[in-house]
Symmetry: C2
Subunit: 441 residues, 2 copies
């Protein structure tokens, strides 16, 4: 199976766990059989490989997610990097060109495109595999997955099939309806559109060449910024008369909101939490070091992270986005390719952060114009390069850097540093990347 | 008016705002006419002085609260310091001896004893003043305040008066009843016992000398630890046949629980908070720097502090104590006579705290056996004494202290320091107080 996972979105709907620099698909929230936690992307990747160990998995995503994907999935997974966001048609076209030109997949082979964030069981991936086989064999140009609806949702698009067979021609597509209209669709045998498309690789490449002037993957990548934003539905699906839909009746939840996310949690709490007996259908996800005590709540989700605290009725939680858009705030933590950082104190004239570097990683060599910095190493061993001079550091060592001083730190083992920034104009933008002088490189 | 305010209790019922080192009466939670916030003790003190500017106010409390009282009320207020906790009879006896021997109050003058935490208006203090005048004039040995009940509460003791006059003889006292019994008391004209006693000073001194063998205030203070714990009700009130009760029909709320505390809040939120329109009767007290977002909640209190996060149905919040008793955790912040500290990061092998010193204050000169410390000054000016050597410090200065090194910091202006503690056995107990060498004293 060739499978392309579409991994996009900023994940504001899962604030305060996700933010501009940490997408929801990387939050470790699902308990594994071994008792540890895995993220959406880890869960989906593991499930695909357990259904088809030889699957070619490609993640279509933006540059900013590449290091998180490598951290969580290793380097075997293929990544089709979108230089910028251009909606699903350019993203799928780029991934198709990547599979053809980089992975040398033949135009006759089928490809399944699927969102990265459904919460599903193995049977879903078995269905994707069938979908791929069908797309390779049948005369239709597209094979879609139609999910059997469990309630008249206003959140999904609907596919009305021509008949009630397992595989059927599509009669008509319907945009997200209101609840009443949804009921009438379901009465006519409509299925949810799960955003899954299977096709022969050559079909999508042909459509792409019709709509975009490009030679090959490299060329498409280079001109990606010039492409028009358009969805795969509008650009391809709506114009294609030869479409089949395959029914899927298994468990399927989309993980877009707190409401659906908490339904997928195995225990009522992740992190330090106390729920008294009077709590009913309460879920807590607490990433802070201090406890959350819940008493007498019903149908409530509580989530606390260094970014903030959400306390919401579960149904109401789907309306979170405009409120989060209005929260204009310092990013309080972020995962990076080299490790992570967390802001632990902000004062007028200073900011204190904890920096965690993974073993073998380093910061860029850089300087700041308008702040001094002091590092105190609290864990691990490494080396600093300050103004061209390399020095070994270990727990308890202190390094002071005046504004303007070039500096970096290299983690020989996993390394933690408390960094005190001092200055009246501290900003993320005040950072000049430099080359390490050749004598210490 | 001579008034003694009883200020006790650890305030676990208002977790996470109050804790073992910060009592509820010092939390600034009430909005003043000027728009700033004042604490329970500040509010009550201000109200007393506005009713009677010449009132002699004495706060009966433990040693640990003295600096907080001076910080919040200044040094004009009298403090009867209890060397340890011995319940209300020893506390009132000590305060009475303090008024007689230190303030030279005559035995004929009346004294009113009142808890520090009722949420009331001016009329309450006018009533206390009447109570004091009545106690000075009447033949009864005790005059109590009886609060007209607004509902059959199971949280208060009841006083059943002999008649319905404003001032009446007490027929009988009743312990906290269940709700049904409370209804029957109220049908008989019962009043809530507000814990307020007025008496002539000589009366309580006489009782005290009968029950405790002591000469004067100093002697009683010195033997305070040897006294038996007993309440004023058991030791005095129950044995006194000559008791009057005076009705009070004004606003009265006791601030013991989140439920009653939030009733007294003028706005739904203190600190960074967003409540959507679907919230109903929701209160937020947020002491963190990050926002709390509440959606679709009803009758809920949310409080966040460096100690933890409470999310509770308001009625349920009265059952908080056993849950807080079970939370065994590092104290994350505390107010001290010299300023305050807040733990901002805890790792295996290190702890990082922010220390704020008030201008003119200093830490004790001390050393630690099992941890190194690094200070980075982030605000203000002062001096350090490290191993007997004094040095000026200002913003950006860094001081490293190995385990065993005697050290202190003196704030010439308000001063803030990030302190990184490094060691595998960090504990509050690892602190040796030292004398500053004479040459730098």
């Amino acid at each position: 199976m060739n499978i392309v996972l579409l991994s996009g979105g900023s994940g504001k709907r899962l604030w305060p766990l996700s933010n501009d620099t940490r997408s929801k698909q990387f939050i470790k929230i699902f308990k594994t059989a071994e008792g540890s936690y895995e993220s959406m992307v880890q869960r989906v990747y593991r499930q695909i490989l357990s259904v088809d160990a030889s699957a070619t998995v490609t993640i279509a995503t933006s540059k900013s997610q590449v290091s998180a994907i490598h951290n969580q999935l290793g380097t075997d997974v293929g990544i089709s990097v979108e230089p910028c966001r251009r909606d699903t048609f350019p993203a799928i076209a780029l991934a198709a060109a990547y599979l053809h030109d980089v992975h040398k997949i033949s135009e006759e082979e089928s490809v399944v495109v699927c969102p990265v964030d459904p919460y599903v069981e193995q049977d879903y991936f078995e269905a994707l595999s069938s979908l791929g086989r069908r797309a390779a064999e049948c005369s239709a140009n597209l094979v879609l997955m139609g999910i059997e609806p469990t309630y008249p949702s206003a959140k999904y698009g609907y596919i009305i099939p021509e008949d009630k067979e397992n595989i059927s021609q599509v009669s008509v597509f319907k945009e997200k309806p209101d609840e009443e209209t949804a009921k009438s669709y379901i009465a006519k045998g409509a299925l949810w559109n799960g955003g899954v498309f299977a096709f022969r690789l050559g079909y999508v490449l042909k459509r792409a060449h019709e709509l975009i002037d490009f030679r090959d993957y490299r060329d498409l990548y280079d001109k990606y910024e010039t492409l028009t934003k358009i969805s795969f539905d509008y650009a391809v699906v709506e114009h294609e008369p030869q479409i089949e839909v395959m029914r899927f009746g298994g468990m399927w939840k989309d993980m877009g909101t707190w409401n659906t996310l908490t339904e997928a949690m195995e225990s009522p709490a992740i992190g330090k939490a106390i729920l008294n007996d009077a709590c009913d259908n309460v879920h807590v996800v607490n990433e802070l070091d201090v406890p959350v005590l819940c008493m007498g709540l019903k149908d409530v989700v509580v989530s606390a992270s260094p970014e903030g605290i959400l306390v919401s009725d579960k149904t109401q939680s789907s309306y979170i986005k405009p409120f989060v858009d209005d929260i204009d705030q310092q990013i309080m933590f972020a995962e990076k390719s080299w490790g992570s950082f967390r802001v632990i104190d902000i004062e007028e004239g200073s900011m204190t952060i904890k920096v965690t570097l993974n073993a073998g990683h380093r910061m860029n060599y850089h300087s700041h114009e308008r702040r001094d910095e002091v590092w105190t190493v609290i864990a691990g061993k490494g080396r600093t390069i300050i103004d061209g001079v390399e020095r070994s550091v270990t727990v308890g060592d202190v390094v002071s850097m005046k504004a303007g001083t070039p500096h970096t730190i290299i983690a020989d083992t996993a390394l933690q540093v408390i960094e005190v920034q001092i200055g009246l104009e501290i900003s993320a933008g005040d950072k000049k990347k430099l080359n390490i002088p050749s004598q210490v490189r």
